[in-house]
């Protein structure tokens, strides 16, 4: 079986486990009807909601219904969206479905995470390579200190400091919100700090390893220019750990975006999740977690596929497993 097919099958299994987990957690944290209506609700209203949502059915039946609905892309309707009064009379066919609301928020999160990671990745490659080319020089020390600082800094604190200095005191950029490239700069910078530090450290150590290998001396000996030796010969071989850490950081970014989106009022999936938690909108939280987790699984799958493209030896390993 081709590697990619096998690997995709693993992802589907993982997604199934995850969905089940979301279902169980949704039932563990309390009676959904009570969560929805609040503690002041009458017993009659609670019963009405339980009836409408099918919560009186046996748990295995609820689980099956949940799975079947999922296959149809139905994550249920929001407890909060689209009601002017408390949704006591809620019917399953009414209300606003949650999935479109979650998906609507994705582009904003993608834009933020993509910008942050793109910026962090390019700068980290340059920083890591420069440090590895001149080990123990001032440039190496500078990169070390900068990467350590940017890994260690607490995201929401960095976000607040950036707002205070750049927005409030200097008035250069908006404090938060969405719409123009200027709105993107601060949240993207805040979010980029951690991956920048971690990727540049991995690039540095991987490049130090690679630059010490005989093929690098051989490339120099045959007259390849130094920039090409570093950025083509060595970087290509250093890219396996770099891709791993970048994929890892991208997963982290999707979740890290939650804090940053809250600090900067960036209308992405993270802000929606935090808001929905505060509003006790269980279906929305379920759908949000599902979408984020599915993205993380997808990213990991893409990283694994990227390995086979980068490293010819992995591509063949399934054939020649001697």
């Amino acid at each position: 079986m081709p590697y990619i097919v096998r690997r995709s099958f693993h992802s589907v299994v993982l997604l199934f486990v995850l969905v089940s987990f979301v279902f169980v957690v949704g039932r563990i944290i309390g009676d959904p009807a009570l969560i929805m209506l609040g503690t002041n609700a009458t017993e009659a209203a609670l019963n009405q909601v339980r009836e409408n949502l099918g919560l009186n059915e046996p748990i295995w039946r609820q689980y099956l219904v949940f799975l079947v609905d999922l296959l149809r892309g139905d994550f249920g309707v929001s407890f909060r969206y689209g009601f002017s009064v408390l949704p006591t009379e809620l019917l399953r066919s009414e209300g606003t479905p949650v999935l479109p609301i979650v998906l609507e928020r994705l582009p904003a999160t993608f834009m933020l995470a993509g910008t942050a990671l793109g910026f962090a990745f390019v700068l980290a490659i340059v920083m890591g390579c420069l440090a590895a080319m001149h080990p123990r020089s001032w440039i190496d020390h500078l990169v070390n200190v900068a990467s350590l600082a940017s890994v260690s800094v607490v995201q929401f604190w960095l976000g607040l400091i950036l707002i205070i200095v750049l927005s409030v005191q200097l008035g250069l950029l908006p404090t938060g919100g969405y719409g123009s490239p200027a709105h993107l700069i601060l949240p993207a910078l805040t979010l980029a700090a951690r991956p920048l530090g971690r990727i540049s450290q991995v690039v540095r150590s991987a490049m130090l390893d690679e630059l010490a290998k005989p093929y690098v001396a051989a490339a120099r000996a045959k007259g390849v220019p130094e920039t090409r030796v570093v950025f083509v010969h060595a970087l290509k071989n250093a890219s396996i750990p770099v891709v791993t850490i970048t994929g890892d950081e991208l997963s982290q970014l999707l979740t890290g975006a939650m804090l940053v989106e809250t600090v900067f009022a960036w209308p992405g999936i993270g802000l929606l999740l935090i808001d929905s938690l505060a509003r006790r909108d269980l279906p929305m939280v379920q759908a949000g977690i599902f979408v984020v987790a599915a993205l993380v699984i997808l990213v990991n799958l893409l990283v694994d596929i990227a390995y086979t493209v980068i490293n010819p030896r992995i591509r063949l390993s399934s054939k020649a497993s001697r």
Binding site: Y215, V224, P225, E226, N311
Partner: protein, 329 residues
Amino acid sequence: MTAATAPLLDVRDLRVRFDTPHGEVLAVDGVSWVLSAGETLGIIGESGSGKSVGVEAIMGLIKSPPGHVSGEILFEGRDILTISERQRRALRGEELAMVFQDAMSALNPSLTVGSQVSEVYRLRRHCSQQDARNKAVELMDRVRIPSARTRLNNYPHEFSGGMCQRVMIATALALEPRILIADEPTTALDVTVQRQIMALLSDLQREMGMALVLITHDLGVVAEAVDRAMVMYAGTIVEAGNVEVLFDNPSHPYTQGLLQSMPRIDARGDRLYAIGGAPPAAGRLPPGCAFHPRCERRVAECASVRPVLLPISDIQRSACHLTGTGNAK
């Protein structure tokens, strides 16, 4: 030394030292030799004798810091230690090329063999992809890699050790250099493949009229392939001369020891001779002759006065207090 032809490469008092956390280490300590066009020179020595570091300095592969190269390296009369890094790089591949010890690890594992063979040709001659591929096939044919065209897109791990070494040689020949330095080209290979690679190198040298510098600790290889040879010990040349003289009439006790410790097919049953002790660590050389603690024939002078490499005949030089004219004050 064939005085008739002007030397292509003239190395004068080459020194390579490294700054290490434990102090300064002198890896090559004042080595001088010449190489004429088309000639084959052997450099013999144990691991750590400075033979590889010396040629790396010639190739410009010593990173500074921590390395420091001094002396003169005259290529066609021009000192290449004083030219810019850019000019230096232009020499590499074009005039000087090098084949490394372990070809498997000296080839980039994630680039195809074809692209590595033709890489410098493509970069320097600014040719099309197709021309580069044709050049790669031509070079791989030249080093007798069977069905070269179909193997262009293979990766080094799909090749055997001997085939990797052929690829490495093809890579070095891409720009038709005038000097090929082979640093233990056969060490990582098994014996039958060693012979094939040596035969290939000799043939290529003849076809292309290259000078060949062969670094090895395998005296058998030297005896067959080389015109002149130098024996290095602890960063210095202890003996140099025509290979027949060196083998038939070695003058330095170290050379004698090396030759005696070669297994001989006609001396079955005898215990193999070995030079006692171990070579000194670079940076902690004994005073006087570096070999004297291991030398069976040492005299008092050896521990205090360092012998100089002096001619003992017109085809042999030796650095030893015992060899008549080789006596230094």
